[in-house]
Amino acid sequence: MATSNREVEELIGRQYRHGFTTLVEADSLPPGLNEDIIGALSAKKQEPAFMLEWRLKAYRHWLTMKEPKWAHVHYPPVDFQSIIYYSAPKSQKDRPKSLDEVDPKLLETYEKLGIPLKERELLAGVAVDAVFDSVSVATTFKDKLAELGIIFCSFSEAVQKYPDLVQKYLGSVVPYTDNFYASLNSAVFSDGSFVYVPKGVRCPMELSTYFRINASKTGQFERTLIVADEGAYVSYLEGCTAPMRDENQLHAAVVELVAMKDAQIKYSTVQNWYPGDEQGRGGIYNFVTKRGACRGDSARISWTQIETGSAITWKYPSVILEGDNSVGEFYSVALTNNYQQADTGTKMIHIGKNTRSTIVSKGIAAGHGQNAYRGLVKVLKGARDARNYTQCDSLLMGDKCGAHTFPYIEVKNPTAKVEHEATTSKISEDQLYYLRQRGLSAEDAVSMVVNGFCKEVFKELPMEFAVEAQKLIGVSLEGAVG
């Protein structure tokens, strides 16, 4: 049940003011961040009281925090007061009328990635009533899930329809005190996905935001929560290979995964946010907190990510291995070209007995790109027989880019086995010449070598993503040969 304006005001601890109603009634909120804005945001989304309360606690905590500066990335200071924290969905009249009105460069990329025509219209936001029969497709899909008792809906919907579930798990893996950007996200998150898979149920298809009805632009502060109950299985796909533009520069998402005993969650991301122009201007900052908790014995969480976009990528999808015999996996390809920067990696925290983690990180730096791997393998005192295997490889293309590795290994139990292998290589002229002598163009040769380099990660992706990811690498490396 939605919170009334009066309740909101009481929570904020302020007098009921006329201005507040105006805020709530406007289409979009003005730029700036304060308790009024958060109250208005929550009211617009018709959230129950607990949600607003949580947001306000997070906001008040955020005010006490300092922006972290330790990452290997550089960017001008973010002005939090100039961001709009809620904007109305784009009206039909603002959208392009057809693909003819869309940026030709964007269309070129769709072409190279082999995206079907109908999908291009959808991606470009063309104003059509029904681009294709999305309603019936999504409905069949939803029916199937409903039969099995699987909940898959937008986070906003979940807050209203399943408040108990949300309250139980929200912030249980990433508390609102966790870090600066997670706090901010907790205060102002816009929307995202909510998934709950009941005991013993295996979700029969890959879940992706593509199939959520009314998947409006989730905006900059995405919040996703996925819960797999005992013995459940779910594979979730986030993102798409098509380049996404956004007026909002800062994206600070939070994703929490909870896997109970014998459950398995597979979370795959392909991220190709606008990376900025060749001089690095105007790109998106992708500062994300992603964490999974293997709460029960033999639970398993796998993160697979292909990060080719954004001006700055700053994220460490992690796994907390609480249950005995639990397994955490992280497979990553991070590509930085032109002036992109990435500081990404993972944290594997071994708590239970006989836990296992695998980390395979492939960093590709081209142009003036800077690519850093930062990983933590932590084995607590009580974590008997923990095993970790880490492989981090960097590929440098050219002499103006950089690859850096910051591995942290903290082991407090003598039975642990931790292996770390790292390689740094330059794309070899000999390899390119060999492939060209077999008839491949210079561009195809580079693509082939780089895809070979990333193969171990690609094979962890669901098939449809894997094929797209390969093409995406090729497209992202344009201009890097030389």
Binding site: E429, Q431, L435, R436, Q437, R438, L440, A445, M448, V449
Partner: protein
């Protein structure tokens, strides 16, 4: 098919080839022999289109075209194949994937339909027999973990599948034992047709017992100083390169 006229090539300012003249007609096998550092590899790499070589004088015509004006991949698509002396490893890229991409690039260039996976596999199986290699070999990454002999056989396998017009084989026999040598020779001989030509760069006469050349040329310090038929190879075997060098200086 191939006409090299007065070719001068420098590498980083140093003159390596000092006026090569060579005519290779379709159906012929030419062997190029010579001591280390004579420029044998340079010659094949210049023909294949490797970067880093400066052609300071001369011309090369291939099937009536100006070969030096074409990029390496264009030359490959026109039917030139280079069997590398040191085939490089390409981790993560399977042999079958590379070969299919290469064959289809060449076929596309020729206006032929690309082969689908099934037809391609059939073709490969045929050629695998020729080089006496098992099919599972195709699914391994290109040259990764291959012994020297396996790499050379892989080169011959690729050549057999791609069916080039002009095969340039750079010391294809180095590091091979007799059995491997015979297999390689079989592969090359199977390719000998009136439409094709082979240029074999080799150090040792031994290979030429199995791949009998029509012509033998001796390359010394960047020049072809002597040409003859297969008996020249035997003479070199007996007497070494010294006498040729001496003759050249005289």
């Amino acid at each position: 098919m191939l006409s090299i006229k007065n070719l001068h090539v420098s590498v980083e300012g140093k003159s390596i080839l000092k006026g090569i003249n060579l005519e290779v007609k379709a159906g012929e096998v030419h062997a190029i022999m010579g001591p280390n550092g004579s420029g044998k590899s340079t010659l094949v790499h210049v023909l294949a289109g490797r970067e880093g070589y400066d052609v300071t004088a001369g011309a090369v015509t291939y099937l009536g075209k100006d070969l030096l004006a074409l990029r390496a991949e264009e030359r490959a698509r026109e039917g030139i194949f280079l069997g590398f002396q040191y085939p490089v490893e390409i981790p993560g890229v399977s042999n079958i994937y590379l070969l299919k991409a290469a064959l289809n690039a060449i076929r596309k260039h020729r206006g032929e339909e690309e082969l689908d996976a099934i037809d391609f596999l059939a073709r490969v199986r045929e050629k695998l027999k020729l080089v006496e290699m098992k099919e599972d070999f195709m699914y391994r990454s290109v040259n990764e973990g291959f012994s020297g002999g396996e790499r050379k056989r892989n080169e011959i396998l690729q050549m057999a599948v791609l069916e080039p017009r002009l095969a340039l084989l750079d010391e294809t026999d180095s590091g091979l034992d007799i059995d491997a040598l015979k297999i390689v020779a079989n592969g090359v001989n199977a390719l000998r047709t009136p439409e094709r030509a082979v240029v074999l760069v080799t150090h040792y006469q031994r290979l030429l017992n199995y791949i009998v050349p029509d012509y033998v040329h001796v390359l010394v310090q960047g020049r072809i100083v002597k040409s003859g038929d297969k008996s020249l190879a035997h003479e070199l075997e007996r007497r070494g390169y010294g006498w040729v060098e001496a003759e050249a200086r005289a």
